[in-house]
Symmetry: C2
Subunit: 128 residues, 2 copies
């Protein structure tokens, strides 16, 4: 495991712009260390970026992604805080389950659409 990645290495690996990475830093989503003024991304930053992009692909906003990321940080020490956090985790899970239902429904509708296309092809006497 490498110790550091440069900004361009990450932009190439994940196909995002440097502007985007700096934007995420401004927003407090990642915290690369500095050598001089240059950003150095540790494996942890890289992993965080992965999680951020996954969140984006799922349609979460930056703020929602921030919420999810904070969940992964240090679990709080106090009992009340812990219980509250478990509750927040459950909320996020419910959102994801809704997305899963949406996703399965859309997939199944696409299946139907394809079937009807294939049927039409058969009607037209095309050997599939």
């Amino acid at each position: 495991m490498r110790e550091f990645y440069t900004i361009t290495e990450l932009t190439r690996e994940f196909d995002v712009s440097t502007r985007t990475l700096r934007f995420y830093e401004d927003e407090g989503l990642i915290n690369p260390v500095r050598r001089g003024r240059t950003r150095l991304f540790r494996p942890a930053d890289r992993h965080l970026l992965k999680q951020i992009l996954r969140g984006k692909r799922l349609g979460f906003s930056i703020n929602e992604i921030r919420e999810i990321i904070q969940i992964y940080r240090e679990p709080p020490g106090v009992v009340g805080q812990l219980k509250l956090m478990i509750q927040r985790i459950e909320e996020k899970r419910e959102e994801l389950r809704q997305k899963r239902r949406d996703l399965e429904e859309t997939l199944s509708e696409l299946d139907q659409a394809e079937e009807s296309c294939v049927e039409r092809l058969v009607e037209l006497g095309v050997t599939t």
Copy 2:
């Protein structure tokens, strides 16, 4: 099955604004009929709206949703078109499968996060 829904009926049912529905019409996503200048939404429009909102929750843009919606319209008659459409369906399915992977990974990380919270609670001697 009702023949028509008014715009406000749909806004209430799906918790969207009238502006949003008019915007979707401007974008060509839905096509309610008119009585005078007033929009009348048929069950088909309502169903389309459902699909649109599902797409939104999955993080698809208006343009991507438009693409998906067009898939559900009349399958084309010509063989070449049909094959092309089947290909486009497969592309969309691949996007959805990627989203599903993202979703499962995020869910499983949330599971881990919750477990570590529960563990901490047990350490603190809290009877769950």
